[in-house]
Subunit: 125 residues, 2 copies
Amino acid sequence: MVQNPSESPPQSEPFAADLLRGHTDTIVLGVLRGAESYGFEIYKTIRDATGGLYEIKEATLYATYRRLVKDGLVEASWGDETQGGRRKYYRITDAGRAVYAKNVQSWTATQRIINTLLNVKGGTP
Amino acid sequence: MVQNPSESPPQSEPFAADLLRGHTDTIVLGVLRGAESYGFEIYKTIRDATGGLYEIKEATLYATYRRLVKDGLVEASWGDETQGGRRKYYRITDAGRAVYAKNVQSWTATQRIINTLLNVKGGTP
DNA sequence: GGCTAGTAGTTGATCAGATACAGTAATAGT
DNA sequence: ACTATTACTGTATCTGATCAACTACTAGCC
């Protein structure tokens, strides 16, 4: 979702939230593929990775975490912050890595298909 | 959705229906951008454009047509088939062309963003 | 005639992902 | 004390996609 950067004129068309639907799991797995992380940090990583242009809502992400844990694609455990707030850390599992690899391929195929259907010369140059 | 081409082993991971979610409108507009068409023909065009690999379900498309008409992006009218079954023809409007152009840009941006988040070298080469 | 398949369009119920919204709770800065 | 930020959670709702039917006409086959 496009953030309205405070002062900028609101003529920039927001891209619909649904455009990334179905990719959230893969994106989170992609973040965790590098290193383990906790919920809020993953959120910030995603937000910052696009220069603040795009944001997946916290509620969406926490729902995603739950789903990924349920499916055995990531493992969760509470950190031992003796001081400071609790953090739940997530690690990608082998199953998660496998699904990630598969999903990246699906994503590539999806791009090809949509670009074909739209007659768009696709992708990042 | 991946069609299981009859005899092929079912190891091919289907890409989730949701992966193209939000793009159906744009895809239909893209088809109509070239020439007017009727419901079932649009369905076949999309199905065939990907070599049968991908299919948007008829029910999904008819819901899409209704939405596009409601939003004024296409116009509908019954053909005058004196013999044979009825066909409802769809034409893209100027508003539809504008939305199409905008959506293609959104799609391009979306690709960039996801490719960034997944660290994928993106798109069709 | 009866059967099947293909074309063409439509409806109602349901699912799942994303979001809005609200809330809890702790810490750090002023 | 107040406020912002960090961090996580739960409930309700929206929407697009799909399923599973259904109507209706045409053409080919036995």
